[in-house]
Amino acid sequence: MNEKPQYSVMLFKAVSYVLKAEKILKKEGLPHKLIPVPKNISSDCGICLRFEPALQSKIEVALLNKVEIEEVRALKE
């Protein structure tokens, strides 16, 4: 019924980029969680950032020119 995904994930080049993003988001007080990259999204090992879709633009602004984002995807449960 409700088609909207509960979460989105943001993918980065490497774990160190995720951690750089994490530090910035913590400082900005933007809620997020580090999770292993779901296999249906990418075959790459490693981790990504999970967050509520409503926060996407705020997060993108916070990371602008600081951490390169690879892509943002809906996380379907």
Partner: protein, 387 residues
């Protein structure tokens, strides 16, 4: 710690280390243990946080704008090998000084055999370099300047800021060997126009051996080929090395336990402040020099100014073999020093102590005035006993 030991060999490797370093390494081994950047579980992430945080603290220390510009290596030697073998191409000309360590000279000489042209700019007998001579050495095909920040033989600090300005004006890349300065002398890669900064973790940064790194200015990584490629935990689906920082230069599982120690070391430096550390060490050097200056037969090498030197003093006692002096210092007085050429033959040629070398004392934040007094008394006795 053995209270009777006086350790004056900190330019080789620092000892003792602050207790926080040992605690951080033990904590990683006991409670974390994961491989950074490889897996998604919490212990792997915790390990990756340690590594990232280390890059951040190092960046803070050297005023590096982005922690991902720091490549972590085994030591300064590996960092310099990346900068030299990865960056120079046949037909390039490079400029270096007559005070370099073999970790710069040997890779450069190896490149010379592959068609790189090298100019070694001489320094005066105190190891001081006149930047004008750098300008004079510039040719049409000059690509880079490789310079030590301070000599490991005399402690003489090189005019890196002036050289940085020259490099900028002439469009040259400046690579600085900070093995002797990182942690005990102020470094600002932006203000000094440093493009590549090689540092080691186990000297004045108080990390364990097996740690070090290379700062690479933004964009420059594209012109540097990695000298070691392999797994990085990133881009696993492709079989070519990632082109982004720092993964491009960090193949293989890192020395995470060492990096945990290095992080604690850099934290220690940041909490004390380089200025306070330098101040204390400067006093020790001054006190030592004042105490031995008048001893019969003593010959002191290097820069007179306390400001422009690291806590390293090279000396000889006329008529005595430096190796014999070092042995006597160890056996009779418990003083650990280093004699010989200190992996820097050209520096010894510059100060005219080749091939015999010198005795080198190198102090750290943990040495005391009492130890300096003991060492002055020891040298009094040794110099009296000569022939």
């Amino acid at each position: 710690m053995n209270r009777n030991i006086i350790y004056f060999d900190n330019a080789a490797t620092s000892w003792p280390k602050p207790p926080e370093i040992i605690a951080a390494m033990q904590n990683y081994m006991q409670n974390i243990g994961g491989s950074p950047g490889r897996s998604g579980h919490r212990l792997s992430i915790e390990a990756a946080r340690i590594v990232f945080d280390t890059r951040e603290k190092i960046s803070q220390l050297f005023n590096v704008p982005d922690p991902l510009r720091i490549v972590l290596t085994r030591n300064a030697t590996e960092a310099l090998n990346i900068a030299i073998f990865g960056f120079l191409k046949t037909g390039d000309h490079v400029i270096t000084s007559g005070m370099e360590h073999n970790s710069v000279m040997r890779p450069l000489r190896a490149m010379e055999a592959r068609g790189i042209d090298i100019t070694v700019v001489s320094c005066d007998s105190e190891g001081i370099l006149d930047p004008v001579n750098i300008v004079k050495a510039i040719k049409k095909n000059t690509k880079a300047i490789f310079i030590t920040n301070a000599s490991n033989v005399t402690g003489t600090v090189m005019p890196v800021s002036d050289i940085g300005r020259i490099a900028r004006e002439h469009g040259l890349v400046l690579c600085v060997d900070a093995a002797q300065t990182a942690g005990c002398y102020p470094i600002d890669v932006i203000e000094m126009n440093i493009d590549l900064l090689a540092f080691t973790g186990h000297k004045a940064l108080f990390g364990p051996s097996g740690t070090g790194g290379l700062y690479i200015r933004e964009g420059l990584e594209k012109s540097i080929e990695p000298i070691c490629v392999g797994g990085t935990g990133s881009r696993s689906e492709v079989e070519v090395q990632p082109d982004f920082m720092p993964d491009r230069f960090e193949a293989g599982t890192p020395n995470t336990v060492g990096i945990a120690g290095l992080r604690a070391g850099v934290e220690f430096i940041l909490s004390k402040g380089v200025a306070q550390i330098k101040n204390k060490e400067e006093k020790l050097v001054q006190m030592f020099i004042d105490g031995v200056r008048e001893l019969p037969g003593i010959i002191l090498y290097g820069q007179k100014s306390m400001e422009l030197r690291t806590p390293v003093v090279s000396f000889n006692i006329a008529g005595m073999d430096p190796a014999a002096v070092a042995l006597d210092l160890d056996e009779r007085f418990g003083i650990m020093s280093r004699s010989g050429l200190h992996c820097a033959p050209s520096a010894h040629k510059t100060i005219d102590t080749y091939p015999v070398g010198t005795v080198r004392f190198s102090f750290s934040y943990f040495n005391t005035e009492e130890q300096i007094i003991t060492s002055i008394e020891a040298l009094q006795k040794i110099s009296k006993s000569r022939i």
